[in-house]
């Protein structure tokens, strides 16, 4: 066997590929499910925190900033490990999926809060003044005038952050979630052949190339015209 044959046999082994493809496809859907749950929870919680922060209640804002900085500073893997291996010691055990979902949602929440907050503060003061001068209250001004502009401004950075966190779902393999990477690694250890990893990489490409292209489109589409 030449080196080239060995290489092909290791990474592009047709028999192994056929055997583990179904597992990888299952992992593919699981990755999508996990990512969707993270994005929903993370973006909703981040937006909620940014809205709370704009109420300008000092003690509350300190708490928000503390939480946000905490989850931006900790490596996501550490949070997953803490939730998965640490919580049972406190009498609360989470499944690997739940631990990964919660950890990555908290991280996305933290980044999303900062992104929305930056958007809200970037809306010119004159917008507030114009709305208030017509008799609109704080809440109407915020929800109808300021927030729509803020959301529009932050769509590009939000898209990028969302893509980044979705890639982070691979970390869930550490806590035995059979998402793409988890399924691929399991395949490798059963077959003693790295071909499942090749399949995994292809699965990630199939998943992320459209997302990245979509992100690019969003970025140009929502570039703020003034």
């Amino acid at each position: 066997m030449t080196n080239w044959d060995r290489f092909l046999d290791s990474f592009f082994n047709a028999r192994v590929a056929a055997e583990y493809l179904p597992k990888i496809i299952e992992g593919f859907w699981l990755t999508i499910l996990l990512a969707a749950c993270i994005i929903l929870a993370g973006v909703a919680a981040g937006l909620a925190l940014a809205v709370l922060r704009s109420l300008g209640i000092r003690v509350l804002n300190w708490a928000i900033i503390f939480v946000v900085d905490l989850f931006r500073a900790l490596p996501p893997l550490v949070i997953i490990a803490l939730l998965y291996f640490g919580l049972p010691a406190a009498g609360l055990s989470l499944s690997g999926f739940a631990a990964a979902w919660l950890a990555l949602s908290l991280v996305l929440m933290a980044f999303t809060e900062e992104i929305f907050w930056a958007g809200i503060t970037a809306v010119p003061k004159g917008q507030w003044e114009a709305a208030r001068s017509t008799g609109l209250g704080f809440l109407d001004t915020f929800t109808l005038v300021v927030l729509p502009q803020a959301v529009r401004m932050v769509i590009p950075p939000l898209t990028n952050r969302t893509i980044a966190i979705t890639k982070g779902t691979a970390l869930a393999s550490v806590v035995a979630v059979q998402e793409i990477l988890g399924a691929a690694q399991a395949g490798v250890s059963f077959s003693f052949n790295p071909t499942p990893l090749t399949l995994g990489a292809v699965a990630y490409l199939v998943l992320f190339l459209p997302v990245v292209i979509l992100g690019r489109w969003v970025e140009t589409r929502f570039a703020w015209k003034r």
Binding site: Q127, E129, A130, A131, S133, G135, L136, L144, R152
Partner: protein, 246 residues
């Protein structure tokens, strides 16, 4: 002589250690057009913004249309509907059409149903000759058109008094005329107006009274012919001389 619609007495404003308004008295009668001039930083904008409480005065009293603006019990959002304001930078909502800009407060503040709010908004746009631009977004309008939409947004609420803070300063010279025309028509319809502006030609032609501010105080006031033609105070003379040379 008709009663004062706007009455400010002894208004002071501090920004931290900065004393910006130092006891300003200003009364504006119904249908009067008062022009406020003065050097940069003299407190013209701050005074205007105190009148509808966008700024909180440190001291003094302000009544508008009989409402005590500084009373804690006053519903400020209700009171502000009687005071229209137009800003130098237009401040239109960029994510709404011209019609949406004008209709927003009609719906949310006055509680009109959508159809009625839009009908009223359309009328207001007609008054500034922009009915045909109702569906345009601010980004698709010229600066002059944007400012006229901003005027429509304010007059749609049928205010008792309109405040203008340098409404033409951000415009290219060829667009100033349309905005001044809209203001002139508003004046002819009997609107009470307080205008901060450097448009001296407009002041001469349309103002009932010119107020000159400097250093947070009203230094001199009178009919435009008197203030421009024969100012009594040295500071007024210097300021008028300066702007006339431009």
């Amino acid at each position: 002589m008709s009663a004062a619609i706007v009455e400010a007495r002894g208004v002071h404003k501090h920004f931290g250690g900065l004393h910006v308004l130092k006891g300003v008295d200003l009364a504006v009668r119904e249908r009067e057009l008062v022009f406020v001039i003065g050097p940069s930083g003299s407190g013209k904008s701050t005074l205007l913004r105190c009148l509808n409480r966008l700024e909180e005065p440190s001291d003094g009293s302000i009544t508008v249309d009989g409402i005590d603006m500084l009373d804690r019990r006053t519903d400020i959002n209700k009171a502000r509907q009687r005071i229209g304001m137009v800003f130098q930078s237009f401040n239109l909502y960029p994510h709404m059409t011209a019609l949406g800009n004008v209709a927003l407060a009609l719906r949310r503040v006055q509680g009109l149903p959508r159809a009625e709010a839009e009908a009223r908004a359309r009328q207001a746009l007609e008054r500034v000759h922009l009915a045909d631009r109702a569906g345009h977004y601010p980004g698709q309008l010229s600066g002059g058109q944007q400012q006229r939409v901003a005027i429509a947004r304010a007059i749609a609420l049928e205010p008792r008094v309109m405040l203008f803070d340098e409404p033409t300063s951000a415009l290219d010279p060829e667009l100033v005329g349309g905005v001044l025309q809209a203001m002139r028509e508003l004046r002819e319809s009997g609107m009470t107006m307080v205008v901060v502006s450097h448009e001296m030609g407009f002041a001469r032609a349309a103002a009932d009274r010119v107020v000159f501010m400097d250093g947070g105080r009203i230094v001199e006031e009178g009919p435009p012919e008197a203030i421009f033609g024969n100012p009594q105070q040295e500071r007024t003379r210097a300021f008028i001389g300066q702007i006339e040379r431009h």
